[in-house]
Amino acid sequence: MNQDSHSKQDAREAGERLVNSHASEDPFAAAFKATRMPMIITDPRQPDNPIIFSNRAFAELSGYSTDELIGRNCRMLQGPGSDQAAIARIRAAIAARQNISVDILNYRKDGSTFWNALFISPVRNAEDEVIYFFASQLDVTTVKNKETELAEARRMAEKLVEERTRDLKMALDAKTLLVHEVDHRVKNNLLTIASLLKLQARLTTDVTVAGTLHSVLDRVEALSIVQRKLFTSDDVARFDVAEFARELIIDVVSALKRDDITVELDLSPVLVPAVKASPLALIVNELVGDAVRRGLRDGGGRIDVTVKRLNGHFVIRVHDTLEPADVNVDREEQEFGRLVLETCARQLGARIERGVDGNVNRVDVTLLVGDGEEKTF
């Protein structure tokens, strides 16, 4: 007998001793043999901790006969695909005489693989010596495959989301670039239009022509401020009428360099949707422009400008103490301004009220904002 045969004989005898210590009617022994759960017992007191007992379920799972299993170490089930870290954990647990539960890829006799949910537990005698290791196995290949499939599906989904996100980001970048480019062109074009009007106004010797060109320039510039304010604000869809009015009035009145025209502002932020920005800007421009033109001609006075929300409505109010316009002077300009004002007001559904209180000329433009519409304002 060689060394291996000796070891095997020892293992078999150890197994027989174990079986013989349990009478055949011992329900625990019967259960161990008959259960569908694959189980083995090893003897750590023999060299290399060999299998000394295995049940039928284990033979069925592994493809080895009981005879082939007895006397061999469990590592016979391992193969090239078995995780080295899992193997190391099993070794460490056995060396430390501790329980261990681990999922490991094992190999059958025919070389096919199965995922083994392995549980190993030491068995101690009355003297607290570890005399056996009990090991149960569970074929969890189906579960593991499902996990792998799920992980693969998740990976695919993540990849898809990543691709879509990248596509969307590229589309957004392209769109942002386009918006910036269009904004740049609109601004440049507005300034070019203004420059052309100014150049021609400079060249002409005809006072009426110069006046007409400046009249058009004045409205183009109001729209220029709108474009500037719209894109400078963080919210390009909103336009603050009060902020527009402030810049317009300060610019116009400072440039006059006339001490006899004073301005009082009562402005609080009124945000409107971008589509209403241009007509509202033109309304403010006409009201202020009309007052300033009269003030220039007639020796000054005071202009009060109010832009605010009032009782859910939106009010633009320009009151001045300047002389009312002489109907014979600049009648065309007067009519043109009135036409622009009334047309813009009609577009917005705004009401214009004019009146004279003593030396005060009043123009109130009220935008009737319904309950439903108020939220958009």
Binding site: H180, D183, H184, K187, N188, L190, L191, T192, A194, S195, L196, K198, L199, R202, L217, E221, S224, I225, Q227, R228, T232, R246, E247, I250, D251, V252, S254, A255
Partner: protein
């Protein structure tokens, strides 16, 4: 003031020149590209400069601005995109945003002239001029 205009749009530059002349200033140079701007800055020694950010050779106005700062020439940016200006304004006093109005430009020029030639106060800058943080009070 002797003024340098750095602007790639000829019509805008021409109109700006007219506006500055009627305000009593002398335009000593007009550059459309960055190297031309640097060259003119050294040759003409202007008292002040208006600098567009986007020039014939790209968004090089910022570099022109830094060069002017190094030469001790005060300037402002004139641009349609304030977001392009670096946080330190590259040493500029501020920026006039395009499309500016005739009145807005006049007020900005009056203010800048007072600031540069008579050590005017930086307070009360007109709304048409965005003052750089370093100059803001």
């Amino acid at each position: 003031m002797k003024i340098l205009i750095v602007e790639d749009e000829a019509l805008l530059a021409l109109e700006l020149e007219s506006e500055l002349q009627s305000a009593g200033h002398e335009v000593v140079g007009h550059a459309m590209a960055s190297d031309e701007a640097r060259h003119l800055a050294e040759r003409c020694r202007p008292d002040f400069a208006f600098v567009d950010i986007h020039l014939v050779d790209g968004p090089t106005g910022i570099d022109v601005g830094r060069h002017l700062r190094d030469q001790g020439i005060p300037y402002v940016f004139v641009t349609g995109n304030l977001k392009r200006i670096p946080e330190d304004f590259a040493g500029a006093i501020g920026a006039i945003e395009k499309p500016y109005t005739m009145n807005g430009l006049k007020n900005a020029v009056t203010f800048l002239e007072a600031l540069v030639t008579h050590d005017g106060a930086i307070a009360n800058a007109p709304p048409s001029l965005v003052v750089a943080p370093a100059f803001a009070c």
